[in-house]
Symmetry: none
Subunit: 223 residues, 4 copies
């Protein structure tokens, strides 16, 4: 039996879904409330029973999106594996999610842009970002990642790289997204693992002395 409450929730869900579709298809400004109502199979006024303004509706769509993304991300992470494997899994998830939801993502950016009218639900976005932060910091705790690396730096690199890659691989079929995730994780391993840097450091003074010597040699031979 379908309760009254269930019917209402089902209607709200339909409206939210319709709004998502319309905003994704047309963008914020161009997405019309009338179209949303039509696709949701309700009258225009009905939409306003659930969301007081277009702005509110947009916000709800975004909230829902990021909440779902966070949920899916957590499900996609392999249990108990090491940090870099988990980061790679998360990277793969993020990339494919962005592929799938590119219009959504653009919507977020558009929302960020038209700041005077729409607001990104930062709290939900932060929840999602926190998935990365927790992985990364656990890596530090476990000694897998050097503790001197600020998490925010790695985080910006992680998300920035993947978002950019998502766009670029979308418009060019020759690019293999897997190459990008693999590269990202490889760099993380190369740069954030304990050993690498000292080696470079050790070589640095040697190189300087060599260069100085070569310069003098140049002087000698050219004279």
């Amino acid at each position: 039996m379908v309760t009254k409450r269930q019917k209402l929730e089902e209607k709200e869900t339909r409206i939210l879904a319709a709004a998502r579709d319309v905003f994704v298809e047309f963008g914020f400004e161009k997405g019309r409330m009338a179209e949303i109502a039509k696709r949701a199979g309700v009258a225009e006024g009905t939409v306003y029973l659930y969301y007081q303004t277009k702005k509110d509706l947009v916000r709800a769509v975004l909230e829902q999106y990021w909440a779902r993304l966070t949920r899916e991300a957590l499900e996609a992470l392999p249990e108990g594996s090491n940090t870099f494997d988990q980061l790679q899994a998360f990277a793969r998830f993020h990339l494919s999610a962005f592929h799938r939801d590119i219009d959504y993502i653009n919507m977020n950016v558009a929302a960020r842009t038209a700041h005077q009218d729409f607001e990104v639900p930062m709290e939900r976005v932060r929840d999602y970002v926190r998935v990365f932060d927790q992985l990364f910091e656990r890596g530090k705790d476990r000694g897998e990642i050097r503790t001197t690396v600020p998490t925010w730096v790695a985080r910006d690199m992680f998300f920035g790289t993947l978002e950019h890659t998502a766009r670029s691989t979308l418009s060019d079929d020759n690019k293999d997204p897997e190459a990008a995730t693999a590269n990202l994780i490889a760099l993380f391993q190369a740069g954030y693992t304990d050993e690498a840097p000292e080696k470079t450091a050790e070589l640095a003074p040697l190189v300087q002395r060599l260069e100085a010597a070569v310069a003098r040699l140049d002087d000698l031979t050219s004279s």
Copy 2:
């Protein structure tokens, strides 16, 4: 003496500048043609003598922006230094440019989003991106960068990281952008240089022989 042609060009410049200001301030959809005309000191109809539609005007603004950015980037690169130094210089430039022009950048994204109405001038953007590509590939030619790394992968990482960092550092004063560029380049060096970490061990005897050679060179040249 001011020729007729110069007067026209000066007016077009004023319109473009006004358009840039207005779009940056209000965004694409909300930026009004009337406001642009007003700020340019011309009549509304006049704008249409130079740009047939709002879309065209937007496109021109973006074209001009990316062209200028490319020019500035090339000027900012240190002549004759090694690839990583140049990449670091470019990274710094890009980050500060995005800081300075964040609204512009958002405008681009907005343009990308509202795909049905506005289009990013891809050719100009590609010109800019090519600055990175050329640096990177010259690095490969010089043997400074492993040739197995696909340029596009590094490029997406480069721009993606920096764009994301630009946004995140903008909204949080505690973050030091320099840390992000340094990290990016360090990772590039760690991951894209020919020697893999394991190789370090193999390097030891080589280092010793080099040290000896340098010492002898020093003796020779200083005497």
Copy 3:
């Protein structure tokens, strides 16, 4: 024990009271049925069980108002005093009622204005107006008021003056409403009494003596 009928009447009363409040606060057009229902503590649909349309509800509110005003006015009149004292009492009542109910009054005017949508319940208004008419005509019957004065002329002056005064004294604290009522009644006395008061006083004993003399003359001639 509360009968079913009493419960219904109580609900109707609550709706009417809520409607009154809402209309007074927001005016006719801006007063929303939903707000009325909310304040009455009933569902929106319920209001329509008692009043078929907003128009009907408005009418009912006005009917109730004028009926109450008439009742109060009659209570405010001093028993057995002379006409001018009673008129003054009524004037005072009317003025203070208009002060108290100015929003109501405006509502009436608004109703009168928006003639296409709302109608003033003329019958109830006439009942109220009749309070004046009866006082005035009884004054004529008693010889206190010259019979040549058309009642409607005095009536329009009475209500017109007081309504205007009510508004003007409301918005200016320096004005004393009592001055206005006193003035109105004084003018009535000055203009509607057969002779000016002082003259009447001088002539009074003379008239009495004449009447006494005539009475005796009657006795003589009839005998």
Copy 4:
């Protein structure tokens, strides 16, 4: 030749006239901007070039009305006659103007009512009211009116009476407006003049002759 400026002013005039008609016919809230544009023979947007909002347009209509009324009133006053004659002329003017413009007047009241949205142009209304004030105070200066009467009291009575009369005579053809103005002025004369001493003097011989007659009657009947 018709200048550009003249054409614009002519258009503004047409819009104002159309707005006046529409507001008078339908009232504030119900008067639609689309209808005004249609009647003015312009596009909807054009109206907004001249008046930024509906509210502004309403205000302009009212301003114009009161300004015109003041002008007409001043023209209607007979030069150089005594105060009461002038007051009577003004009363006649006001009454007939209200007859003619009753819907306008209602509009004003409606505006006053819907105070949250529309505002009466008080300054223009005050200009009109000042016509009465000046007549009345000049009457005081000339010694025609007792100086103890507060002008505002007389003013409220004047306008209140006439407005009410205007409404009441409109809906009842049997009432003669002239009776109302005459009555108003008569009461003013009766109440605001310094007692007509001439009348008292004329009565004196009559009183004497009556006294004598009564005395003789007394003699006759008492004997």
